[in-house]
């Protein structure tokens, strides 16, 4: 089998996912297109060498529908022969897109591919495409469906994470993200988004709240209390009868932010890179995906991490850097607790709580963050993982070359 190498990784800054967000007036296609163009232009490659582009997108509806990957490929001016496929595994879509892009190299199907993702959440709101899972009573009833925020609160309840615990984690995410930006740690990856005239419209992550304090977090109202009281706590305890009362600790300040953004990662074989004069930055060492209990929904990272590590005979201590998407604070706290991962190895440059989680793109973004950070801090291996809707987990282990 061929080794898959990462040659480059880029992302857009993340715009606030609201009508007043800077990227709200930029189309999803444009976001994805700009990422693909940046990958091409920075590396000076003839896109005839790029055989396929795999993009994650969680709400493939409206302008994000009809295979946005191929749409962006066409709009980016890539070679006509470059394919495009959109994939969807909820929050892990971006990482899955990268894993699929890497797999194409490994299997020999392709020599050079792009993995990435796009989500303009301000334009195509989360849930626009609905789906049978919550809507079809057969599915909702049989799977004990609850919204994922309730799942995050179940985790906190079962693990005994208090409101202070999750808020403290959120606070740290803000501090780390602010430090990373001020030290220019994202400079290599972030490509400013241009407007219709080609002028920069956003060059930094817009969602961050540097003034966050424990007091300001404490004043936020639990986001899932009402849903829980009305319906879902009564359903959750049918799966977890050991719970007397669910403590609703998550809110807008310790959950991932709603943002717009896109990301892309250039994969290739060693030979293809040599041919094009590209220098590999990292090698894909292992990949894994799993399913886990769907009601709590967000416990997948631990299991998928163990599975990926097992494939290459590694233990949690062997990993130098972890990127676990900060969907909710309790998700990260649980994985650190279960795998005994010290906080200084986990999300060292902050995460989605501070900077936002553009659903389909995040996986590719944090993969890029890991590549940059391995180089910056001179470390060897990183593991990137995300919790996933309906109870899944996806992970990728990379090593610097």
């Amino acid at each position: 089998m061929t080794d898959a190498y990462i040659y480059d990784a880029v992302r857009t800054p993340r715009g606030r996912g609201k009508k007043d967000g800077a990227l709200h007036e930029i189309t999803s296609v444009s976001l994805a297109t700009q990422v693909l163009q940046a990958l091409r232009d920075r590396n000076g490659i003839d896109t005839a060498n790029v055989e396929d582009v795999v993009l994650g997108c969680v709400t493939p509806s409206g302008e994000q529908g009809s295979d946005i990957a191929r749409t962006a490929v066409m709009m980016a001016g890539y070679a006509e022969t470059t394919g495009g496929i959109q994939v969807h595994r909820f929050c892990a879509s971006g990482l899955d897109a990268c894993n699929i892009a890497a797999s194409k190299i490994i299997s020999g199907e392709a020599e050079m591919t792009v993995g990435g993702g796009v989500e303009a959440m301000s334009r195509i709101p989360m849930g626009t495409d609905r789906g049978a899972w919550p809507t079809d009573p057969s599915v909702a009833l049989d799977t004990c469906f609850v919204p994922q925020g309730i799942g995050a609160d179940i985790i906190a309840t079962l693990e005994g994470f208090s409101r202070e615990d999750v808020d403290a984690y959120a606070m740290e995410s803000q501090i780390r993200a602010a430090r990373a930006w001020s030290e220019g740690r994202f400079a290599r990856s972030v490509v400013p988004v241009k407007d219709q005239l080609g002028l920069t419209i956003l060059d930094h992550d817009e969602h961050m709240r540097p003034g966050t304090t424990m007091q300001s977090l404490a004043s936020l109202k639990p986001a899932f209390q009402e849903q829980g009281d009305t319906f879902y706590d009564g359903i959750a305890v049918q799966r977890y009868p050991q719970i007397d009362r669910i403590s609703h600790v998550h809110h807008a300040g310790n959950s991932s932010g709603i943002v717009d953004g896109a990301a892309g990662v250039l994969f290739g074989s060693k030979e293809a890179g040599d041919r094009l004069g590209l220098k590999p930055r990292a090698r894909v060492k292992a990949m894994a995906a799993i399913g886990s209990e769907p009601t709590i929904m967000l416990t997948g990272p631990t299991y998928v991490t163990r599975k990926a590590l097992g494939k290459v005979g590694m233990t949690p201590e062997d990993i130098d850097l972890y990127e676990l998407n900060e969907a909710f604070a309790s998700v990260v706290l649980k994985m650190m607790k279960e795998l005994a991962i010290p906080h200084d190895k986990m999300n060292v440059n902050g995460g989605a709580i501070a900077m936002g989680h553009p659903l389909g793109a995040t996986g590719a973004m944090i993969l890029g963050t890991a590549v940059d950070e391995l180089e910056r801090s001179d470390k060897e291996t990183a593991l990137i993982t995300l919790c996933v809707g309906a109870g899944m987990g996806v992970a990728t282990i990379i090593e610097r070359v």
Partner: protein, 728 residues
């Protein structure tokens, strides 16, 4: 045609009346089904008919729906493929006929007076115009889910198409009937008319030569409120969440109603009706449907109609009745008596106490008047029938006296003596007690043959059950009179024999007793109560103890220990309630301290000190453990009911089931303890109990008579059928 009559006037309007012969109330009998086809074809084919008014030939209403007796015969069994296809064809017939009616090209208006329930309302929904009488007797509803079925005559399809998913779901899922104004406001009926004038109103509509098209057959029709993937999404999602939260997966009818609506509204109505018929069949084939039709409908009806009343005594009427003791129970009994038109004397030690008791009725009446459920005049007349007093001489002339004083033998004996001195011959002396043996109480009376136990449940105006207890000397005539009185106050009786705790109180306690055994074993309290609710019981066993009061359980156990002496069997709960009461002063909800804490203004939470009484050994349950807890909690109750049957405390399985479901909220989906045992299969039930007895002790040992039934492959209901047949 026997059931339908049809008369066409010179104006071309055919008046079709439904009047099923030999029935007080119209239902959709096999005969109605057989005639419906030719009727629809006649309407469609007879050129003289320009339009149709459909109405009832009976004064009490249009139609009460499907013939549940007939449905019951087919319930609870699934079939092979060929039979399944045949059954589906039969189930689809009504849908096919009603679809033909609404597309036959002639306008059909229905005039609704009184009841239109279930299939009755579904026929009405297939008409193009509905006018309902502005009458308190009018009730429109689809109550199928309450007996474990779903509306199979197009109700799950036409109702959402008519009023939208959000408004239709509660009517389909909860089955509560609507009054005229509500039905009109929701859009179920097009117009209201004065009682007796609905046919004229229907004719007036037909005179406007309306287009004979249903809304959903018109061009450009859109589902009101949007479909599951449009604006109606939140409604269907909330529907699933509500059903899941409340029914714990125990009620396939509700779940299948949701499926019918979701799947059906996304396709043309013909396909929707086919989907509905499939789910109807699937639902009827569940054991829940069989059990619920029997208990919730057939058995309750039979008991209300006097199935257990000794024959040979003329119908007896209670014109005047006295209630002794104006506490919560006495006050409630006085209200239901007065509501049934019985002249009521409410007595207590002081006029003041008696007046306080009457105030309860005043409050209930006030509420009913405010809600428009009762006229002011009717309310005043009801209250005028209650005389609150301390004067025992007012008992004179009473046909029946209900004693409802505190559960204290001496006190009960005293008021019994005082009352019967004033009673006329032939009058009934009834004691409302939940635990004290009737035979013993009757000893205070000089005519123990006229003495009977009538165990009412609290709150009396909302709880339908009365447990009738025959003492050793209670005469059949007294039983007949007691049952006639219960019929008069519109309650449902079960009949049991005298024994400690009778039937309901004795079995009821086993649920929380088993919960406390689990607590003592170290199963986390949250698991016990959550799984308790998951069995379909209204509350978890531990929170139930809090509601009943821990100190009460403590006192009852102490009393039992004293009464039984060596025969007393110690239980885990004894030590638990003793520590809760003696060491921690935790009496339950009433002092805000029980298994739970009850913070003011906040939700209750488990008391953190519980682990000092019983350290938690099982904090995370496996699916197998959850299943075992479920089984223990339900079987423990069912076993006690079976023991009551063996001991002759209660012999009729209908009383066993109805008493459990109405009396202590036993999981409705099972049909009751006897139905549960039959559902599991007696042999299987016995085998599982033996296994539980091995693991947890003799309290799970099945009684010998269950083994006998198991050995001959019988069932509790079948055993009953044999007994009845032998007796006949």
């Amino acid at each position: 045609m026997e059931c339908f009559s049809i008369q066409t006037g010179a104006d071309g309007i055919a008046e079709v009346l439904l009047d099923v012969p030999g029935r007080t109330m119209n239902t959709i009998t096999p005969e109605v089904m057989a005639e419906l086809g030719p009727l629809v074809e006649r309407i469609a084919g007879d050129d003289a008919i320009k339009g149709v008014v459909l109405a009832s030939g009976k004064a009490n209403g249009f139609c009460a729906g499907a013939d549940l007796g007939h449905q019951a015969q087919n319930a609870g069994q699934s079939k092979g493929e060929a039979e399944q296809r045949e059954a589906l064809e039969r189930a689809y017939r009504l849908n096919a006929l009603l679809r033909r009616l609404e597309t036959c090209g002639k306008p059909v208006a229905v005039a609704l007076e009184g009841l239109a329930l279930g299939g009755g309302l579904e026929i009405a929904l297939a008409c193009h115009y509905r006018v309902a009488a502005r009458s308190p007797r009018l009730q429109l509803g689809l109550p199928e889910a309450n007996v474990g079925l779903l509306p199979g005559g197009g109700g799950t399809q036409r109702l959402p198409r008519l009023i939208g998913i959000a408004k239709a779901l509660p009517l389909l899922l909860e089955g509560k009937p609507l009054r005229a104004e509500e039905a009109h406001r929701l859009g179920l009926v097009h117009a209201l008319a004065e009682p007796g004038e609905t046919i004229a109103a229907a004719r007036a509509w037909l005179a406007t030569t309306p287009e004979p098209l249903q809304p959903w057959d018109r061009k450009g029709y859109q589902l009101p409120g949007g479909g599951p993937y449009g604006a109606g999404g939140p409604a269907i999602i909330a529907g699933s969440a509500t059903v899941k939260k409340r029914s714990f997966g125990n009620y396939p009818a509700q779940e299948n109603i949701l499926r019918c609506v979701y799947e059906g509204v996304q396709v043309p109505i013909e396909a929707g009706l086919r989907i509905e018929s499939r789910y109807f069949l699937k639902t009827r084939q569940t054991p829940q449907a069989k059990a619920m039709i029997r208990t919730q409908f057939q058995s309750i009806q039979a008991l209300r109609k006097g199935a257990l009343r000794p024959a040979g005594f003329p119908k007896w009427e209670t014109k005047k009745a006295a209630v002794l003791g104006a506490g919560m129970m006495g006050a409630g009994i006085a209200f239901v008596q007065a509501a049934a038109g019985i002249e009521t004397v409410l007595l207590d030690v002081s006029e003041d106490a008696a007046t306080k008791g009457k105030a309860h009725s005043e409050k209930v009446v006030e509420k009913a008047v405010a809600r428009g459920q009762m006229t002011r005049e009717a309310g005043d007349a009801l209250l005028a029938r209650i005389t609150a007093s301390a004067d025992y001489s007012l008992i004179e002339g009473a046909d029946l006296v209900v004693e409802a004083v505190f559960e204290n033998r001496e006190l009960k004996a005293e008021v019994t003596k005082k009352a019967e001195a004033l009673l006329k011959p032939g009058a009934v002396l009834a004691s409302n007690t939940s635990t004290l043996p009737i035979t013993g109480l009757a000893e205070a009376s000089v005519r123990p043959d006229s003495f009977i136990g009538l165990h009412f449940f609290s709150p009396v105006d909302r709880m339908d059950l009365v447990e009738v207890i025959c003492g050793q000397k209670t005469s059949p005539e007294t039983l007949a009179k007691g049952l006639d009185y219960i019929d008069r106050i519109r309650k449902t009786p079960i009949v049991v024999n005298d024994a400690r705790g009778f039937y309901t109180s004795r079995c009821f306690g086993t649920y929380s007793a088993e919960g406390m055994e689990m607590f003592a074993e170290g199963i986390a309290p949250a698991i016990i109560d959550n799984v308790g609710r998951m069995t379909g019981m209204p509350r978890g066993p531990l929170e139930l103890v809090d509601d009943v009061a821990i100190d009460l359980v403590y006192k009852v156990r102490k009393q039992t220990r004293e009464d039984l002496g060596d025969a007393y069997k110690p239980e885990a709960r004894d030590a638990i309630v003793t520590r809760m009461v003696e060491d921690f002063g935790r009496f339950g909800r009433k002092n805000g301290k029980g298994f739970y804490d009850y913070p003011e203004g906040g939700p209750k939470t488990l008391w953190t000190g519980l682990s000092d009484i019983a350290p938690v050994r099982i904090a995370r349950p496996s699916p197998e453990l959850i299943e075992e807890i479920r089984t223990r909690l339900l079987y423990r109750q069912a076993l006690e009911a079976a023991r009551c049957m063996e001991e002759g405390v209660v012999s009729d399985p209908r009383s066993v089931d109805v008493g459990a479901v109405l009396g202590w909220g036993f999981a409705r989906w099972t049909g009751g303890p006897a139905s549960l045992i039959d559902m599991v299969g007696v042999a299987e039930f016995v085998a599982r109990c033996d296994a539980l007895a091995q693991k947890y002790g003799a309290r799970f040992a099945p009684p010998a008579f269950l083994r006998e039934i198991a050995a001959r492959g019988g069932s509790l209901y079948e055993a009953e059928a044999t007994t009845v047949a032998e007796a006949a």
